[in-house]
Symmetry: C7
């Protein structure tokens, strides 16, 4: 299992429903990169300048929207995940 | 529903009245991008370096003007929204 | 009415006297952009890192000089205004 | 009169003695831009992060040397002045 | 032995299993640079602005994933290591 | 006399011994710019964020080495000086 | 003697054993620049925002590895040294 460090979360990309144009399934390179993911692990939180740790505002299981181009892709046991700083999460889907 | 994180707000673009030149309705690509939106959700506020949270100065229902190029476009249930940091809101329309 | 947020002020551009060369009124694109404006609305002030708000040093009615290229142009009820951060105001005309 | 804001000072450019080469007065575009000025107005001082104001280290009447390219040129009643942040003043001529 | 300074850790690159395409072992320049390493030494921690030292969140023996392009390669006794700031470690493999 | 402001010092360039190649004195544009100078005036010191002034670590008469490209050249009474921030002084020659 | 200022150390480059390829000594421009040095002088330490000085973590005699491209080369009495900020030292060789 992966444990994110600091204010990071680990996301599993959401399955997007296939988009079709006139019945033709679009090839993957014709689709926009998804900006939605499900949190599967969270770090301990941001460390402030006074040494205290600020707890995370999101939790495992949350579906979140993140800033385009944010995060680092990591591979672990043949699966790809995205590790994102909490400050790059823009909203929670409730 | 979308819940913005931190000092972010979610905006719904305002309908602009069509601008016409000599009776001809301008195509959408000939119009300037609107900088006005209506707030439909607000985050909890900015977290200061001492760990306290600064409450938001705007609320749901406010019509606001935001800095050009600010914000992240997000799609949710077939509708597009703009997520903007509070610091990029320049004024409230009263 | 527009209410500026944070440390911003809203300026109304000052009328400049027409400059003429040999009696010929110069077209507007031949004139330098004015850097003087009159304040018609002020925000609540800068929020410091400790959460306190620093009151503004300028008030409605002040004529101010601002840094070239500073500010955001906004349109409201068919009139253009300039929204400027207080730190980009260089001097008050007394 | 102009009142500078924050940690700014207003300078009046110093008259430089004409430089001549072999008796020929050099045209103004052949001379280096002066970096010396006389202070005609000072702001209230820098505001620190704790909200206190740091008094200025220079006063009206001081002749100062400023960093090349620092400052904003402003026109007021047909005269040009330079508005400079105190941190861009390098030395006082005593 | 090498002792990292500040918030740095020293990593030993992990052996990656050879990847083959149709039985042909790929030459090393055809493989992606590994982003996983094992910590063999840790620094004392980040020094905060108030002078206190924040202890490290990782320890010798941890397998970690680090940001691509992070770190400095150093050679010591004919072996190459990577020295990485703790803030560039994204997750611990547990 | 020139009085430097803040954390600045004023340096007088050191005379370098002429370097010759095979008895031929090199023209000045063939020599590296000296990075050594003698302090002839010091400012009051750096002002910290809490408003206190940190005294200077160098004094008039010290010979110092400064970072290449640091400082501002100023002319005063037909002589050129270099004004350098204390943070750009790398070492004192004792 | 040279006394480094602030959080700087002065390094003496380490002699590298000549590398030969098939018995042929490589010309100096074919070798990588060494990143190892021996500390011959240390400054007083970093000054924090509260005015306190943080003592150095390295001492005279330590052999250290430093970040590539870090530091300023200085000449003193016909010998070249490298002056490096402590934050650019990555590890101590023990």
């Amino acid at each position: 299992m992966l444990k994110p460090l600091g204010d990071r979360v680990i996301l599993e990309a959401q399955d997007e429903e296939e988009q079709t144009v006139g019945g033709i399934v679009l090839a993957s390179n014709a689709k926009e990169k998804s900006q939605t993911g499900k949190i599967i692990a969270v770090g301990n939180g941001t460390v402030l300048e006074n040494g205290e740790t600020l707890p995370m505002n999101v939790k495992v299981g949350d579906t979140v929207i993140y800033d385009k181009y944010a995060g680092t892709e990591v591979s672990y046991e043949d699966q790809k995940y995205l590790v994102v700083h909490e400050k790059d999460l823009v909203a929670v889907v409730e």
